[in-house]
């Protein structure tokens, strides 16, 4: 593994080999036949073809408020939906607020439950709920192994360059999500050697664009990060935090926020304040969900498909 890319393609495959139970067919891109785990890395590095991955977000393990008395049950439903996906996703991305307010044991509960999905890797970035009590110490110990800086990461998979950013560690009074100078400099270096035709996927908890600054739904230096990505022909930005689907297209950059698996929040400005929104038990599954993202070489944009838990 290189410092620049927390997990490169080779490293990823090696990790999978060590995992021992990998479905290697999904690695080489939807080839409808499985290979033994003994297949060599060279064999696996055939030209990239289509693959998919899943974004799950805002699981808030430990939440017991009125908006969802059993966030663990809806989380389990989400896992069942992911397990049923065909073809199987190559990996998962969790875009933060794994726990609700760092409840004891929540990180272990979430990561153990997600093992049931049967993918070899789950990539985590923290939400503010995962770091507010200790500045991210527990999160980094649990999920940040080997990463540079304070948990940001990048890796290559199937011809796509993935970047996981951390924008919840600089929360200050009255301030909003931010990346900070050190991470911005790392990002600039990280993508500097890539050709502009490389598809880029960026994932982070708080939206990188100004969804609704009045409610803190913005990353104050997100625009700076995007200047490093402007030259690329395909940039997909995946965020969580606001517990609802929103999309925006800006040049070659498409922004997507995801549903939570725990509880919805009001649309921007539709309520006096953000926060858990109570809906009827019948309506709840319809406003929670997970997302599958598929990349097919030769297409400009990744296909993003959101599924509710209804």
């Amino acid at each position: 593994m290189s410092d620049r890319h927390g997990v490169d393609r080779r490293g990823f495959l090696q990790c999978m080999a060590w995992g021992g139970t990998g479905l290697l067919w999904s690695v080489v891109g939807g080839v409808p036949s499985s290979r033994g785990i003994g297949a060599t890395v060279a064999e696996a590095q055939t030209p990239a073809s289509a693959f998919s991955f899943v974004q799950i977000s805002d699981t808030h393990i430990g939440f017991k408020g009125e908006a969802n008395r059993d966030a663990m049950a809806t989380f389990e439903t989400a896992i069942a939906r992911i397990k049923a996906l065909t073809p199987r996703p190559a990996f998962l991305i969790h875009t933060g607020d794994i726990s609700h307010a760092q409840k004891p044991g929540a990180f272990d509960v979430a990561s153990e439950a997600l093992k049931a999905v049967g993918v070899e890797r789950v990539f985590y970035v923290p939400g503010e709920h995962d770091v507010f009590a200790d500045g991210g110490t527990m999160f980094l110990e649990r999920f940040g192994g080997g990463r540079p800086g304070r948990g940001w990461q990048s890796f290559d998979y199937g011809g796509v360059h993935f970047v996981g950013l951390v924008n919840v560690l600089s929360y200050k009074s009255g301030k909003i999500g931010s990346l900070g100078t050190e991470q911005l400099e790392w990002l600039e270096r990280d993508v500097s050697g890539l050709t502009s035709s490389t598809p880029i996927v960026v994932f982070a908890h708080v939206p990188l664009w100004a969804v609704y600054p009045q409610w803190g739904w913005v990353t104050e230096d997100g625009a700076q990060a995007l200047t490093y990505l402007k030259r690329f022909g395909s940039v997909t930005v995946l965020n969580g935090h606001i517990h609802q689907i929103m999309q925006k297209v800006e040049g070659n950059v498409t922004f997507h926020t995801a549903r939570s698996t725990a509880f919805p929040q009001p649309a921007p400005g539709a309520a006096p304040s953000p926060g858990p929104m109570k809906v009827s038990p019948e309506e709840l599954p319809g406003v929670l969900g997970v997302r599958q993202v598929t990349y097919a070489p030769g297409t400009e944009r990744l296909a993003v498909v959101d599924s509710s838990l209804a």
């Binding site: 017991k64 408020g65 009125e66 908006a67 609700h100 307010a101 760092q102 503010e128 709920h129 507010f132 009590a133 929360y171 200050k172 009074s173 009255g174 301030k175 909003i176 009045q214 409610w215 803190g216 006096p272 304040s273 953000p274 926060g275 858990p276 109570k278």
Partner: protein, 120 residues
């Protein structure tokens, strides 16, 4: 019937210890006795009295009435509540004059301040 002063003190001391033990054994902050003094309610992602002036020695209590978790965190690390779930409280006694600004680390657009000055 009258009891000696000594006996009364002993009774009070036993009662005080019982209260302490009950308080110590209760894991839910919401159940702990709430001190007298001004209260700041957290409701709708805001502190309902964001600007409060008290005299030195005053204990201020915050109580969370939201469905979400909030904190009361000094911007200068003077005090720092844990995550407060619905109906949980946090109290702090201000002994020194000054202006104490605070915010919620989970929702940093929530801010407030306590001004401590002698009531002369």
């Amino acid at each position: 019937m009258s009891t000696s002063g000594h006996g009364k003190w002993r009774t009070l001391a036993v009662a005080a210890i019982a209260v302490l033990l009950l308080g110590a054994s209760d894991p839910a902050p919401a159940q702990a006795p709430v001190p007298a003094g001004p209260r700041v309610e957290i409701h709708g992602e805001s502190y309902d009295t964001p600007d409060l002036t008290v005299t030195p020695g005053t204990t201020v209590t915050w109580v969370n009435r939201d469905d979400d978790t909030h904190t009361v965190t000094s911007t200068t690390d003077v005090f720092r509540s844990p995550g407060l779930d619905t109906d949980e409280t946090f109290s702090y006694t201000f002994t020194q004059p000054g202006t104490y600004t605070y915010f919620c680390t989970l929702h940093p657009t929530m801010t407030g301040r306590v001004v401590v000055r002698s009531g002369s």
